[in-house]
């Protein structure tokens, strides 16, 4: 059940109503039931997998919690993490590994007992696996106690606003909120509705509109010239931002209506002036998860190598990020590219800071703009690997952008115009939030007339310029 489906628009108000009508003590049970009902709508059999991951996490983390001997505790931790990871590894990478072996052996005229097998990836598995692992590591590190109520742990892992595409939340933030007994907070409901409205705008008006052009070009690369490919490649980062950013806002807004605060997932990433800053603003929940559970332990482990230890930790972290995104060489290269960009920044950081101080650059408008543009160019260049179907196509895109300008580009006037309107609105609001926070407010304006007018404007923009019928979010595939 996607957030943009009609089913969700019926499901969510009913769930919220039942939730508020349930006695406070049992509200978590209503949410757990609603979450499983929500997930069962994707493919019922995968709910068993979700329940299996929850049960495994529950039993093993309880054992970790009760184990005193460090070596034994560590062994159980490894067992838990492997057990939680196994379904993800199997569904996401089995086909790729199997086909790889099949191709390799066929090349040498040898037989492999397993034929070509394709598994459907359970929706949200990458997200709830990371949430379960994060919980396990927090229990192991004694940051939280293992949850005694399996229902509450089950709710944390399956919480319907977050299960399909995050944000990847932490147990220490969510479980205490599930336990807290709160009344209806109308302020939070209003805030939630505003976030949902803006999320729908980002998804339906911007992401899905840009997607028309991007898909038309990237799905038929050979039919398009360099300019079209360049344009589609520039559109794609905005599309993915509006898609996952929009989804995250709807998720956060939905949780807020139910009375829960969920972490922010994006913070105006295209205003970042360096790749390091970009990754502090983009898909924050994933990056902070990777930072806490992968990068920090690794950089600690490699600390004796100083800056090269950091570089190694960065490369491994982003390699994992690439593999998490998809079982394909394109994603591995994508991850490595991020690692390389960040490593270069880490290696040159001191000299860059000195240079900026010497010429007093950090406050100069043109220097900030240059940083923003350079960061965008680097990210856009790497996203070609994120979007192309395979390596061959990715290299074809790069080559043709510079060589194939023999005919006019593909133009879809309506799509391009509506995309431009949507992007301009997002740019203006984010520019305001970045450089003039708390000024020129619309949704938060004190005057009711301005607030309502801005709500209605966004509603009409969604109805007028939105693309409906596409119930898929890009991150469902990850």
């Amino acid at each position: 059940m996607a957030f943009t489906s009609l089913n969700f628009l019926i499901f969510f108000p009913l769930t919220a109503l039942f939730y508020w009508l349930t006695p406070v003590k049992y509200r978590w049970a209503t949410l757990l039931f609603a979450s499983y009902f929500f997930y069962l709508n994707t493919k019922p059999v995968f709910a068993l997998l979700l329940a299996g991951v929850t049960l495994t996490t529950y039993i093993l983390t309880r054992i970790i919690d009760q184990t005193k001997l460090e070596s034994k505790k560590r062994s159980i931790l490894v067992l838990t993490v492997v057990s939680i990871l196994l379904p993800l590894l199997f569904f996401k990478y089995f086909t790729v590994i199997n086909n790889g072996i099949l191709d390799l052996l066929e090349f040498y005229h040898l037989r492999w007992p397993l034929p070509e097998i394709k598994f459907l990836l359970p929706v949200g598995i990458s997200f709830y696996t990371f949430m379960a692992i994060g919980y396990t590591l927090d229990v192991y590190n004694e940051e939280i106690e293992a949850e005694k109520n399996i229902g509450l742990l089950g709710l944390f892992i399956s919480f319907f606003p977050l299960i399909l595409s995050g944000p990847i939340e932490r147990a220490k933030n969510m479980i205490p909120q599930f336990k807290a007994q709160k009344g209806v907070d109308y302020g939070m409901i209003t805030q939630g509705l505003k976030l949902i409205l803006w999320g729908y705008f980002m998804k339906l008006v911007v992401a899905d509109r840009l997607g028309i052009y991007v898909d038309a070009v990237y799905n038929n690369i050979s039919q398009h010239n360099g300019i079209s490919l360049l344009l589609a490649s520039i559109y794609y980062p905005f599309q993915i931002y509006a898609d996952l950013g929009g989804y995250s806002l709807i998720a956060i807004g939905t949780a807020k209506i139910l009375g829960f605060d969920v972490m922010q997932n994006f913070k105006r990433p295209f205003f970042a002036t360096s790749m390091a800053e970009f990754w502090r603003r983009w898909h924050i929940s994933l990056i902070s998860w990777l930072t806490d559970y992968v990068y920090t332990p690794l950089s600690f482990y490699f600390r004796k190598y100083k800056i090269w230890g950091i570089v190694t930790a960065l490369m491994i972290t982003f390699l994992i990020s690439g593999i998490w995104h998809g079982a394909a060489l394109t994603f591995i290269i994508w991850g490595l590219m991020q690692g390389i960009f960040l490593s270069i920044e880490a290696l040159t950081n001191k000299r860059k800071t000195l240079f900026e101080k010497k010429y007093n650059l950090s406050n100069k408008g043109w220097y900030i703009l240059l940083g923003i543009i350079l960061t965008f160019v680097l990210f856009t260049a790497s996203q070609v690997f994120g979007r192309a179907a395979n390596l061959k196509e990715a290299f074809q895109v790069y080559t043709r952008i510079f060589t194939d300008t023999h005919h006019l580009p593909y133009k879809d006037g309506q799509t391009m115009l509506y995309s431009a309107i949507g992007l301009a609105i997002i740019f203006i609001t984010e520019f305001r939030d970045e450089f003039f926070p708390r000024r020129f407010l619309l949704f938060e304006n004190k005057k009711l007339f301005i607030r309502w007018l801005s709500y209605y404007t966004v509603i009409f923009l969604i109805l007028y310029l939105g693309v409906f019928g596409n119930e898929k979010f890009i991150y469902f595939q990850y």
């Binding site: 038929n220 005919h407 109805l463 007028y464």
Partner: protein, 316 residues
């Protein structure tokens, strides 16, 4: 809580009012075929132009027929009544102005999953058979058609309702998409605009593959599949030379000849050389439409280059 609900209701009031007016006007005859003649005329004038796919598909679903015509404005000029004179069966023309092959494929797939058809005429041209002519307006229209909530909450229902109401209140005639030029000026303008299509032409592997699937489906289901290349004025045909696309044009014809019967009117002949046979370089007049339909049904070809496809059942 009561105050909060009151506020929510008050906020929703304008939207509720709009929906009520849309329900009353029902600009695309979604809920029923209106009996009010004046309103029906306005719907034909406004809604049909605002979203022709939505209008035509709702009408088609209400009274489906076994022969359909798909394509762009050129083939739209072949009125169903002309076909019905010969076939003695109802014919639906679901072509629209600016329609792409993607649109036609989408509609073909929709129609064939819901209704039984015996014959389909695809209007094609080098302009539409291009890898960069990919607009898809049929899909969103089908989505609106398939859900009454979407029908009530979409821009076409809203804008058509608004225009119909405006026309009724102000008693004015609303003519959507009428070119703001005299014939001569429009003619020149259309010739210049051809560069939009030919200047960005690329071979449409995707269309060829999808049309091939349709051709195979037609063979399997015994549906007659024919392509019509409508006549365009000679000045427009010359643009193919101008843009060095002769090889591509021949490949286009070879492709469609491998898929179904082809009626080709788009080559230099007395019909395409006479300016009076055209409203503009792309669009022939009604008298030419009569000739085309007559030739298709009588198989007495004066102007068409007819290439039968011998791989299709019943097409010989």
């Amino acid at each position: 809580m009561i105050n909060y609900i009151k506020k929510l209701v008050l906020f929703s009031l304008p939207l509720i009012l709009i929906i009520i007016v849309e329900l009353i006007i029902d600009p695309y005859n979604y809920f029923s075929e209106g009996k009010n003649e004046k309103l029906s005329r306005l719907k034909n004038e406004i809604s049909q132009k605002d979203n022709p796919y939505l209008f035509k598909l709702i009408a088609y679903d209400r009274s489906p027929c076994s022969t359909i015509i798909l394509g762009d404005s050129r083939i739209m000029g072949l009125k169903p009544s002309l076909f019905e004179n010969y076939s003695k069966e109802k014919v639906a023309n679901i072509a629209i102005g600016g329609g792409t092959i993607q649109d036609a494929i989408e509609i073909f797939n929709y129609v064939t999953t819901r209704h039984t058809i015996k014959q389909v005429f695809f209007g094609v041209s080098i302009e539409t058979y291009s890898g960069t002519f990919l607009r898809n307006r049929a899909k969103p229209s089908l989505e609106i058609k398939n859900s009454f909530v979407r029908y009530l909450l979409n821009r076409y229902t809203f804008s058509s309702t608004y225009l119909i109401c405006r026309s009724m209140i102000r008693k004015e005639r609303i003519d959507l998409y009428r070119p703001p030029f005299a014939k001569e000026e429009f003619w020149k303008n259309q010739l210049i605009s051809e560069s939009r299509f030919l200047g960005s032409y690329s071979y449409p592997t995707n269309y060829y593959n999808e049309l091939k699937k349709i051709s195979e489906y037609c063979k399997e289901k015994n549906i007659k599949l024919a392509f019509i290349i409508s006549p365009t004025h000679i000045e427009l045909q010359e643009k193919i030379n101008e843009f060095n696309l002769v090889k591509e044009y021949n490949r286009f014809k070879q492709d469609i000849e491998s898929l179904g019967d082809v009626y080709d009117y788009n080559y230099p002949n007395i019909l395409t050389e006479t300016k009076n046979n055209f409203r503009d370089p792309y669009h022939h007049t009604d008298s030419v439409a009569r000739i085309i339909v007559k030739e298709i049904y009588t198989k007495e070809f004066l102007y068409a280059k007819f290439t039968p496809n011998f791989t299709i059942n019943g097409s010989k």
